[in-house]
């Protein structure tokens, strides 16, 4: 019975990681430089869920965090230091492919799923305590 709490915990952790990627996406929605300072738009990140807790138990876990490699918006800004220097898109700046509505909808889904797991946990906790009260 106590193992049931672990299942709900795995759900909480997975949703929190997903929320982290969403927060990161929104925070970086205008970033035109990568972590190492090289010009290049930030690419939106997604958390991939997989069944099982990753160690053979029941639950859910984040199997991987992958980048969405699709192209972002091109904005005409020839004087921007990160503008594309050559080719047909010369003078354009490629912004991250982060779409606010998508991120917001995902954030709401993650938060609802988190709540559902919390509720499941509360129910399990009540069941455990009512079983334990049999001894009293």
């Amino acid at each position: 019975m106590f193992g049931v709490l672990d299942i709900s915990t795995s759900g909480l952790v997975a949703q929190r990681v997903r929320m982290d990627t969403i927060a990161g996406n929104i925070a970086n929605a205008q970033a035109t430089r990568r972590e190492d300072g090289v010009p290049g738009p930030f690419k939106r990140r997604m958390a991939l869920f997989a069944t099982g807790d990753g160690n053979g138990g029941a639950g859910v876990h984040v199997a991987n965090v992958v980048e969405d490699t699709s192209r972002g918006n091109l904005v005409w800004e020839p004087n921007h230091p990160d503008a594309i220097k050559s080719g047909q898109n010369k003078g354009y700046v490629e912004y991250p492919n982060v779409d606010y509505p998508t991120e917001m909808v995902n954030a709401m889904m993650a938060s609802r799923a988190y709540e559902a797991n919390i509720t499941a946990m509360t129910v399990t906790k009540d069941m455990i305590s009512s079983t334990l009260r049999l001894l009293a």
Partner: protein, 144 residues
């Protein structure tokens, strides 16, 4: 002998099995909720109705035969192992909608409703069992 009779007959074994079953079912439901937005996940289920019918049949049989052991025959998704513990094997729910491209049939409402129902069943079983034990204790102590 009297004590063994009291805990192996009547409602106690039924409630005991029901408690074990609701706990196992809670595990299945918690797993479904944890995987609620995992693409391609198919929700798992236990047939609570079939279990309750089996329980009733077993209780009726014990009453009819007057046996001192409560025996629950194995059903489609549950069985009793050698040590008398209840084991369940949840089945995958067939996908009945075409709403999702990945064929998932996740429905958080249904899962939470089943969880609430399951918790109430657990609560009822444990309350009744506690009452039963309390009256047994009263009889042992011989005081009111």
């Amino acid at each position: 002998m009297i004590f063994a009779d009291m805990v192996n007959r009547d409602t106690v074994p039924v409630l005991e099995k029901l408690l074990a079953y609701t706990e196992a079912r809670q595990r299945v439901l918690a797993e479904n909720v944890a995987n609620i937005d995992n693409p391609h996940y198919r929700t798992k289920q236990l047939d609570a109705k079939a279990f309750q019918q089996a329980l009733r049949a077993a209780a009726d049989r014990q009453k009819a035969t007057g046996s001192s052991e409560f025996e629950l025959p194995a059903g489609e998704d549950f069985r009793t192992d050698d040590e008398g513990r209840l084991q369940v094997t949840p089945t995958e729910r067939p996908a009945e909608n075409v709403l999702f491209h990945d064929g998932t049939n996740a429905s958080v409402e249904r899962q939470m409703a089943m969880m609430a129902e399951n918790a109430m069943m657990h609560q009822a079983a444990s309350e009744l069992l506690r009452g039963k034990f309390a009256s047994l204790l009263k009889a042992i102590k011989g005081q009111s």
